[in-house]
């Protein structure tokens, strides 16, 4: 009896705050004024096909860049030789973890806009003429913000796994003449591949669900599905289409999770 009692609060939270709303949303995607319908899905597909593609491209690109960055930072933390650089990098890379997406987006607006801090600084130190200054407040800004925000999280997982590797395995490769890039690619990454996948899947899912960043960085069309959903609800009270868009997002993240789970299961079977 005791195990069930201990489990009950967790089950209640998952049920009440996740499963029930999810079921309502999924149900809502197929609900019209005259009963069950596929019109919401058709509406979502016809109106927001470009946004869907835009979302997918942005999140895939951001996930890939996050993965590259996490491997690069984790790799340097594991194989780097400069003690000062290691200490600085180790201390600094976590900072964005503690900044909410909305604050990151606001900070990024001030940084990468046409008259933002980045352009002004580059012009001021003479690295770029004023005419070259352009705004990054479009899809590039969303990708930059997502990567900046997710990189610490992914790095935390990847660098932690790298740090837990048997150090003598790295030394053995070094001893045989491997340089650090070869050690990273041939020895370190294959041993932490699962952790990298976990970091990427979780980052993908997180980025799919962020509203504030696309809303604040680039509200123009095409935009991300989260903005489209908010628009349908706030402007039209159209919960049906919003739910259909939510279902599409859910299917996209579900597919990614499924691919990862399949791979993890195949690895365990080996």
């Amino acid at each position: 009896m005791l195990p069930y009692l201990l489990l009950a609060p967790a089950l209640f939270v998952v049920g009440a705050f996740f499963l029930v709303p999810l079921a309502f949303s999924v149900g809502g995607a197929f609900e019209g004024p005259q009963g069950p319908t596929l019109a919401n899905l058709a509406n979502a597909a016809s109106l927001y096909r470009m946004d869907l593609l835009f979302t997918l491209l942005i999140v895939v690109a951001s996930t890939a860049l996050t993965g590259l960055g996490a491997v690069a930072i984790g790799g340097y933390l594991t194989l780097g030789r400069s003690k000062l650089a290691l200490r600085l990098l180790g201390a600094m890379y976590r900072w964005p973890l503690f900044i909410p997406f909305i604050v990151a987006a606001q900070a990024m607006r001030g940084f990468i806009g046409q008259n933002g801090l980045m352009n002004n600084t580059l012009v001021w130190i003479g690295l770029m003429p004023q005419e070259w200054a352009q705004s990054f407040l479009d899809w590039r800004g969303i990708v930059i913000t997502f990567v900046w925000k997710q990189l610490p999280f992914a790095t935390l997982l990847v660098a932690g796994a790298m740090a837990a590797l048997d150090r003598s395995g790295i030394e053995a490769a070094q001893n045989l003449g491997a340089n650090r890039l070869r050690i990273l690619i041939g020895i370190v990454i294959p041993q932490v591949a699962r952790n990298i996948m976990v970091a990427l899947v979780l980052s993908f899912v997180t980025m799919m669900s962020v509203l504030s960043v696309p809303m604040m960085i680039s509200g123009q069309s095409p935009t991300m599905l989260t903005v489209a959903m908010a628009w349908r609800i706030n402007s039209f009270g159209d919960y049906g289409t919003a739910n259909a868009l939510g279902l599409v997002s859910c299917v996209m993240t579900g597919l990614v999770a499924w691919v990862w789970l399949r791979q993890a299961a195949a690895e365990r079977a080996r």
Partner: protein, 349 residues
């Protein structure tokens, strides 16, 4: 073919803790040297400094006359076999052995041929496609050795590579490794805390004590003439009994003849300690003379570990162990004789 290694006045510190204090050591090309000592004596640090994994705070390391003190590990021509074997869990045996060759730009045909040769040499035929998790401890150890030997290193560094093997396998591997080193002519430096392993395998043994060389020499020299109580104790002379030095003579029990000590082996007059091995002491018959030290004691216990009896003899307040051919009755009064070559006398601590 091997190359010489010279370590000159080498010191290593970790933060404020000094681990090696001015070690000087010379290893000839093709020689097998064992670094022997208990945990924490600095033997692995010395090996890792030679391999390039630990930066020295002072001193020089040369290989074949070339200064390699600041050279990165990959430029030293030394291959290391790690205590944990350090095999890569995702890599097959064949790929692991061929890894160093791939780094050297060999084509796959040459790599395959060399890997096959190593697999044969190390009796790993047919295991090339296996992952480390599918191998036994002895096989893993041989793969680690194969990976190091495949690149034809001038220096082979062995960091307790047998400590994870069971006793029966270890016995065979010692002889195999020594034969292999001799046939390939590689210079080998072997870290171990196992005295027997060092004695069997090495041309020369270097005993380390708290980051300094306590004594270096051939196994026979160290065995017969330990320079200090620490070395004697580490080389199996674990029995200790108090003696008194008068002039150049050591006195044991009253009424027994004193032992004349050679001038270079005599501690200063006063209290001293004799160290001896259980298998080198004897029980003497009443009145039997001996060129050595004789103590009177009683038998406290007899046990049979196999082959011969081991008796615990109480002398005064000390207990010592002695190997005897027959069981001694407990409580019996005995004369314990330590022949002169087996009696290692040092000033009392």
């Amino acid at each position: 073919m091997g190359t010489s290694v010279e370590v000159d006045d080498l010191s290593v510190s970790f933060g404020r803790t000094s681990v090696l204090h001015g070690i000087s050591l010379s290893v000839a090309a093709g020689e097998f040297v064992a670094l022997l000592g208990p945990s924490g004596c600095g033997k692995t640090t010395l090996l890792r400094a030679i391999a390039g994994f630990v930066p020295p705070s002072a001193g020089r390391i040369r290989a074949g006359g070339q200064d390699i003190t600041r050279a990165p590990p990959e430029k030293r021509g030394a291959a290391m076999v790690f205590q944990s074997y350090a095999l890569w869990p995702h890599m097959t045996v064949a790929k692991t052995i061929g890894y160093g060759l791939k780094l050297r730009g060999w084509n796959s045909g040459r790599i395959d041929a060399k890997v096959e040769e190593m697999l044969r040499l190390l009796r790993l035929e047919g295991l090339g496609a296996r992952l480390p998790a599918q191998l036994s401890g002895g096989q893993r150890q041989r793969v680690a050795l194969g990976r190091a030997l495949a690149v034809d290193p001038a220096i082979l560094l062995l960091d307790e590579p047998m400590s994870n093997l069971d006793a029966r396998v270890r016995e065979g591997v010692r002889h195999e490794l020594r034969a292999l080193q001799q046939s390939l002519g590689i210079t080998a430096i072997h870290v171990t805390h196992d005295r027997e392993e060092a004695m069997i395998m090495a041309d020369r043994i270097v005993i380390l004590q708290e980051g300094r060389i306590a004594q270096a020499g051939t196994p026979e020299d160290l065995w017969a003439r330990p320079a200090s109580a620490y070395v004697a104790d580490f080389l199996g002379a674990t029995n200790r009994l108090p003696v008194r030095i008068q002039g150049s003579q050591a006195e044991a029990s009253p009424g027994e003849a004193p032992l004349d000590l050679a001038a270079d082996r005599s501690p200063p007059p006063g209290p001293a300690t004799v160290h001896f091995r259980p298998e080198e002491a004897r029980i003497l018959a009443a009145g039997e003379p001996l060129d050595g030290l004789v103590f009177r004691g009683t038998v406290a216990l007899s046990a049979y570990p196999g082959g011969r009896w081991r008796a615990s003899i109480r002398v005064g307040r000390d207990d010592v162990l002695v190997d005897v051919p027959d069981r001694l009755p407990e409580g019996a009064a005995v004369r314990l004789g330590i022949p002169s070559p087996a009696a290692h006398v040092f000033a009392a601590p």
